[in-house]
């Protein structure tokens, strides 16, 4: 909630600051337009906004994980670390109430810790010491070293002078002291605003992990093998899907019989999400490469068939007529008119299909795989290795984005006439 509020605040504040600073410097054609609201062509993404947007994400991520990449004064308050103290007041049968101090060493989980040394103190209730990990809580049996234990009616009645009873709790300077229904104390040090690394590790932990996995690998395979396997499946599945789907789409666009025969199949399969096919494909083909490639083939097939079909039906009849009047044969019209005319549609379809395949392969690997990006994050999540999970998600995103960029570049280079007929 507070994170979202900060995010909105940064969004609004940077908008006004940038607007104020940049007002006089920008003078291009668009700035001469008086009507910009509602003119789509006048809306270009503000590069400054994009940069600030990305910086903001890292800033918030760093600030709420106590990252080193964010200066200390910007950190959200961290969890309490160090020695916490509180006193308890105990009563026992036939004894006067007595006070004792509890010292709890709160440590970072994963580091070595020693129980702090303390004086036992005077009175029948003795001072105690214990350790609790940050963001955790721990039971503290303070009665164990006292001269009168539970069999002698040992009972805690107050913490730091404030009365307490089973089921209730007292907030101290260092954290919350609660009492279980049976009367045992439970100390929960202040958590602060930061996220625990097992929920969200700081950015540098993710980067370190990336370096480590890139050099040492994970689960018997290098990082490149994991990513390479996923990519390999996508590329092979997509290529087979395109190799079958495009001719099928052409046939559907050119022949009544093919159109009639395959229309029900294609129209039925198109809305079935490829993810829904995973269980069936696993039953039929197992969890090996064959199953994954069949799945991706099916994911790409319908998209490519529909793209090719609409590419064929989208050809202007006057172009076909012109070609016939210039003496072209059916085959020449196919080769020189229909195919080039359908390429823009096919490229659009290919971009969609690659995106769908990439998503599907990751999902399929989450379900079952021995190698692959999805398998990597799934296994890591079982061991609470959140840094690997986040690293994996970022890499999957980067690769997906990279695929789309490559497809766009290929489209610009190969079908420059797109949208210009």
């Amino acid at each position: 909630m507070i994170v979202f509020a900060i995010y909105v605040a940064i969004f609004v504040a940077s908008f006004f600051i940038v607007k104020f600073v940049a007002r006089k410097t920008i003078t291009d054609y668009t700035s001469l337009k008086t009507v910009t609201f509602g003119d789509e062509s006048a809306v270009t993404p503000s590069r400054i906004a994009s940069v600030i947007s990305i910086l903001t994400i890292f800033l918030l991520w760093g600030a709420f994980t106590g990252s080193k990449i964010v200066p200390g004064f910007l950190h959200a308050p961290g969890p309490f670390l160090g020695d916490a103290q509180f006193t308890y007041t105990a009563e026992a049968d036939g004894q006067q109430a007595d006070d004792a101090t509890v010292t709890v060493r709160v440590f970072e989980v994963g580091t070595d810790v020693e129980v702090p040394e303390i004086e036992p103190g005077d009175g029948w209730a003795k001072n105690d010491s214990d350790t609790v990990g940050a963001w955790r809580s721990g039971l503290i049996r303070v009665d164990r070293n006292d001269e009168f234990g539970r069999d002698a009616g040992h009972k805690i009645v107050a913490i730091n002078g404030q009365p307490i009873e089973p089921g209730a709790s007292v907030q101290t300077e260092f954290g919350r002291v609660g009492m279980s229904p049976k009367g045992t104390l439970n100390f929960e040090p202040n958590k602060g605003w930061q996220m625990e690394p097992i929920w969200l590790p700081p950015p540098e932990a993710v980067v370190d992990r990336l370096g480590e996995i890139a050099s040492e690998g994970y689960r018997d395979s290098t990082l490149w093998e994991h990513l390479g396997y996923s990519l390999f499946r996508v590329v092979v599945g997509f290529l087979i899907g395109a190799a079958v789907g495009i001719p099928l789409g052409y046939a559907m666009g050119l022949s009544n019989w093919f159109r009639g025969w395959f229309d029900p199949i294609v129209e039925f399969m198109r809305p079935v999400p490829p993810l829904a096919l995973i269980p069936l494909v696993i039953i039929w083909a197992g969890i090996g490469e064959t199953g994954k490639i069949i799945l991706l083939f099916l994911a790409a097939l319908w998209i490519m068939a529909i793209a090719a079909r609409s590419g064929v039906s989208g050809v202007k009849i006057s172009k076909v007529h012109a070609a016939y009047s210039l003496g072209a044969s059916k085959w020449q019209i196919m080769r020189h008119v229909i195919i080039p005319n359908s390429l823009p549609d096919i490229f659009t379809g290919a971009r969609v299909a690659m995106g769908v395949c990439w998503g599907t392969v990751v999902a399929a690997e989450l379900v079952a795989a021995e190698k692959g990006a999805g398998m990597m994050i799934m296994v890591a999540s079982k061991f609470q290795l959140t840094d690997i999970v986040i690293m994996g998600i970022i890499l999957i995103g980067v690769i997906g984005f990279g695929i789309d960029m490559l497809m766009r570049a290929a489209e610009r280079a190969l079908v420059p006439w797109k949208g210009k007929g």
Binding site: K316, S318, K319, H321, A322, A323, Y324, S325, L326, G327, A328, S329, Q332, H336, V337, P340, N341, L343, V415, P416, W417, K420, G421
Partner: protein, 268 residues
């Protein structure tokens, strides 16, 4: 027998709702080789339908077309088409568009290269021959379409409102170009237009068609095309006969439109 003869063509479209449209009824016409004919008529009178039948894209429900003694049964390189717009292949350069016909006929560049370059010169696009067609203006694109049609050396050229989408100035220049090409190549040309002036300028023969059913209403023989070859078309338009004919034909088409409007109003 050389030339184009249209014998009692009728065309009826059956509509999906069970009705039918009589787009053409008993159209007969003979064109000698090298004649330039323009076709005029209110919207929906069957001009495009007639042209599509001549091109071979549609088979008439009755009647037949003969070109140089043989029956027309389908599209063929002997009958070239120039469309209003958007019939160029935007994935090819200007030169590839123009040389499309000869290339499809399997000819080598040695056979067509000089003719294509000559045509590009004639239509003034020599400097643009390697450009993509979508980089050209509308007028330039229509010049490419003309050159593409001529490069294939058809016997008859069929044009459906070829200049309809151009601005007035470009249009006038293109009209001059059409006349020049007609005279130089001696092709038989049929040109559909919506502009009475254009029909007068670009027709040795001018056919006025009437709608419902589509038929030939009146035919004129005009001297203006001959006068316009190599001359300033604006001078031709100042000719007193030109104005008289223009008014006469405008009135005729106006009456037809009135009649259609009256009939639809009465029907509704």
């Amino acid at each position: 027998m050389s030339g184009l003869s249209i014998n009692n063509i009728s065309m009826r479209f059956d509509l999906p709702n069970g009705g039918s449209v009589q787009a053409l009824k008993d159209v007969s016409l003979d064109l000698k080789e090298g004649e330039l004919m323009s076709v005029l008529g209110p919207s929906g009178c069957g001009k495009t339908t007639l042209l599509n039948i001549l091109a071979g894209f549609l088979a008439p429900t009755e009647g037949a077309i003969e070109l140089n003694g043989h029956k027309v049964t389908g599209p063929d390189a002997e009958r070239g088409m120039v469309f209003q717009q958007g019939a160029l292949f935007e994935w090819m350069s200007v030169r590839d568009n123009v040389s499309f016909g000869p290339r499809m006929a399997g000819k080598r560049e040695a056979e067509w290269g000089s003719n294509v370059d000559h045509l590009l010169d004639v239509v003034g696009l020599q400097d643009f021959k390697e450009k993509a067609v979508y980089e050209l203006s509308g007028g330039m694109q229509q010049r490419v379409a003309l050159a593409r049609c001529l490069a294939n050396d058809p016997d008859v050229i069929l044009m459906d409102e070829p200049l309809g989408a151009l601005d007035a100035l470009t249009r006038e220049k293109m009209q001059g170009l059409v006349l020049k090409l007609w005279k130089e190549t001696g092709k038989t040309i049929i040109l559909i237009t919506h502009s009475v002036e254009e029909a007068l300028l670009l027709g040795e023969r001018l056919l006025v068609m009437a709608p419902r059913p589509g038929r030939i209403h009146t035919e004129y023989r005009l001297p203006f095309a001959e006068m316009g070859v190599g001359a300033d078309l604006r001078e031709v338009k100042k000719h007193p006969d030109f104005n008289i004919k223009r008014e006469e034909i405008l009135g005729m088409i106006w009456d037809m439109e009135e009649e259609i409007m009256g009939r639809t109003e009465a029907a509704s």
